[in-house]
C-alpha cells in the first residue's frame, strides 16, 4: 500500500537524530514535526528568522509578530533564538542546518530538483527553497512517487526549471526510500506491501536495486 501523507511524514521523522537542527518545508515536511521520536530532540528552523519553532499558539498566545515561514502564527520553543533574514540564511547557506525536508515536482538521478516553477502556470516565486537546497547538509525530498496521471517524478533528467543542481541525496515517497548517487536512484526501502516491481515501473530514471529491499519500519 502506498503511504499516506502522514505516513510519509512519519518515515521522514525517523531520519532525524538527537540534536539535529531541521528546516521543514510547507506540506508533508511540516507534518514530520509531529512524529519526532520521543527519545530524541530536534530544533526547528524557520527561515523567516526563528530557530526553535514551537507549537501553534493557543488563542491567548496568538501574536502577529510571531510567525513561521509559512506565515502561520506560531510560538517560540524554550531556548529559541530570533534573528534577521540575512542571519537566517547565513545559517542555511553556511551548512549549519542538519536537515532540510522539502517537496518537489521532479528529482533526477544527478540529484537535481525542480520544485518551484511550471512553465505556463503562474510563477509565484522560489521563496527560500533555492537557498535551502544549496545550503543544508542533508536534504530529504518528500513527494508522491508519481503524479496524479501516474507519471513518474523520479526522472533521468528533470524537465522543469531547476531549484538546485546535484544536491538531493535522499528521497522519501509514498512507495519507497531512495538514495541518489552515481547517477542513479538506489532503492533502500519499500513501503509495506509495495513490490520492487511497482517501484521500478513508477521510476523513470535509472533505478538500482541490490539484494533484498526491506520494508520500511512503520511503528
Amino acid at each position: 500500500m502506498a503511504l499516506s501523507r502522514e505516513q510519509i511524514a512519519m518515515r521522514v521523522a525517523k531520519e532525524f537524530q538527537d540534536g539535529n537542527y531541521v528546516n521543514l518545508g510547507i506540506g508533508i515536511p511540516t507534518l514530520a514535526a509531529n512524529y519526532v521520536p520521543a527519545h530524541i530532540e530536534v530544533m526547528l528552523q524557520s527561515e523567516n528568522g526563528l530557530l526553535g519553532m514551537g507549537p501553534y499558539p493557543s488563542d491567548e498566545q496568538v501574536d502577529a509578530d510571531m510567525i513561521n515561514a509559512g506565515k502561520e502564527t506560531v510560538t517560540a520553543a524554550t531556548g529559541a533564538s530570533i534573528f534577521n533574514s540575512a542571519e537566517s540564511f547565513a545559517m542555511i547557506r553556511g551548512g549549519h542546518v542538519d536537515f532540510t525536508v522539502l517537496g518537489a515536482f521532479e528529482v533526477d538521478v544527478t540529484g537535481s530538483i525542480a520544485s518551484w516553477m511550471i512553465p505556463g502556470k503562474l510563477i509565484k516565486g522560489m521563496g527560500g527553497a533555492m537557498d535551502l537546497v544549496a545550503g543544508a547538509k542533508n536534504i530529504i525530498v518528500t513527494m508522491t512517487h508519481a503524479d496524479k496521471h501516474g507519471k513518474s517524478k523520479l526522472l533521468q533528467a528533470c524537465t522543469l526549471p531547476l531549484t538546485g543542481v546535484n544536491c538531493i541525496t535522499r528521497i522519501i515517497t509514498d512507495l519507497a526510500v531512495l538514495e541518489v548517487k552515481d547517477n542513479a536512484f538506489h532503492l533502500r526501502e519499500r513501503a509495506p506491501g509495495v513490490s520492487v516491481e511497482e517501484i521500478r515501473e513508477k521510476t523513470a530514471g535509472k533505478l538500482i536495486v541490490v539484494g533484498n529491499i526491506p520494508e520500511m519500519e512503520m511503528d
Binding site: Y56, D65, M126, M130, V165
Partner: protein, 234 residues
C-alpha cells in the same frame, strides 16, 4: 540633541523626497513587520514607476498590495509573490515586472548594499533560471554565481522601539528583513510602535544602530495576521 534627533511628526515629512521611478526597499515578511503607515503615505502621494524591493508584495488591499491599486509599482524584486490576485493580473497584463530572487540572496543583497560590498558569490541558484546570464565560478570544487548588491533611494522599515537617535529594536519575528533594509536606503525611514529617549535601550541589545536611520515616526499598526493557526485549529 538637535543633530541626532531623527523624530518626525508627520508622514509627509517621513516620506519627503520620494519621487517617481525611485527604488524603495521595504522590510517585512508577508504582513509581519511591515511599515503600514509609510506604505499608506506612498499610496497617498501617488508616486509612480516605483521599483520595490521586498520579500513579498502584501495581499490584496493590505501591505504593499495597496500600491498596486493605482499601479504605482513598476517592478517588484521579491522571493515570493503568490498571495495577491491584483499582482497576478498586472503581471499577466505586462503592467508589472517582477525579478524573482531567492530569499537568502535577497537578504544578502540588501546587507551587502548597506555594507559597501558590491557583489558576492553564492551557490544558491547555480544551474537554475536564477543563474542565467550571471557569472559563475568554481571555488574549492563547488560552483557559485555572482550576485550584485541592492541599494535604494529609500528604505522603509518597521521597528518596535527606537530612541530619538534612531537606535532600533525589533519584536519577535517582525525583525525579518527590517534590519537589512535599514542599512540599504540612502534615506532610511523607520516607523515604530514606541519612541524612547536615548539611553533607554541597552547598547548591545540594539538591532539597528542609529547611524543607518534618517527619520523616525511613531505609527499605529493594525498588524493583520495572514494565516491564523492555533493549537486548537491545528
Amino acid at each position: 540633541m538637535p543633530g541626532f534627533d531623527k523624530v518626525v511628526t508627520s508622514y509627509a515629512d517621513a516620506m519627503h523626497g520620494l519621487e517617481d521611478n525611485m527604488t524603495v526597499i521595504a522590510g517585512g515578511f508577508g504582513l509581519c513587520g511591515i511599515p503600514e503607515g509609510l506604505i499608506a503615505e506612498i499610496k497617498r502621494l501617488g508616486t509612480k514607476g516605483l521599483t520595490v524591493v521586498s520579500n513579498n508584495c502584501g495581499v490584496d488591499g493590505f501591505g504593499l498590495g495597496l500600491l498596486l491599486e493605482d499601479k504605482q509599482i513598476k517592478k517588484m524584486v521579491s522571493s515570493y509573490v503568490g498571495e495577491n490576485m491584483l499582482f497576478e493580473k498586472q503581471l499577466l497584463n505586462g503592467e508589472l515586472e517582477v525579478e524573482l530572487t531567492p530569499q537568502g540572496t535577497l537578504a544578502e543583497k540588501m546587507r551587502a548594499g548597506g555594507a559597501g560590498i558590491p557583489a558576492f558569490y553564492t551557490a544558491t541558484g547555480f544551474g537554475t533560471p536564477v543563474g542565467d546570464g550571471k557569472e559563475s565560478r568554481n571555488f574549492n570544487g563547488r560552483d557559485y554565481i555572482l550576485e550584485e548588491s541592492i541599494t535604494g533611494e529609500f528604505a522603509i522599515v518597521k521597528a518596535w522601539k527606537a530612541d530619538r537617535y534612531g537606535n532600533c529594536m525589533y519584536r519577535h519575528t517582525a525583525m525579518n528583513f527590517n534590519p537589512l533594509a535599514a542599512t540599504a536606503g540612502k534615506i532610511t525611514v523607520v516607523e515604530v510602535e514606541e519612541i524612547v529617549e536615548p539611553g533607554e535601550l541597552e547598547p548591545s541589545q540594539i538591532h539597528t544602530p542609529g547611524i543607518y536611520v534618517d527619520r523616525i515616526i511613531k505609527g499605529s499598526f493594525e498588524k493583520r495576521i495572514e494565516r491564523l493557526v492555533t493549537s486548537k485549529g491545528a
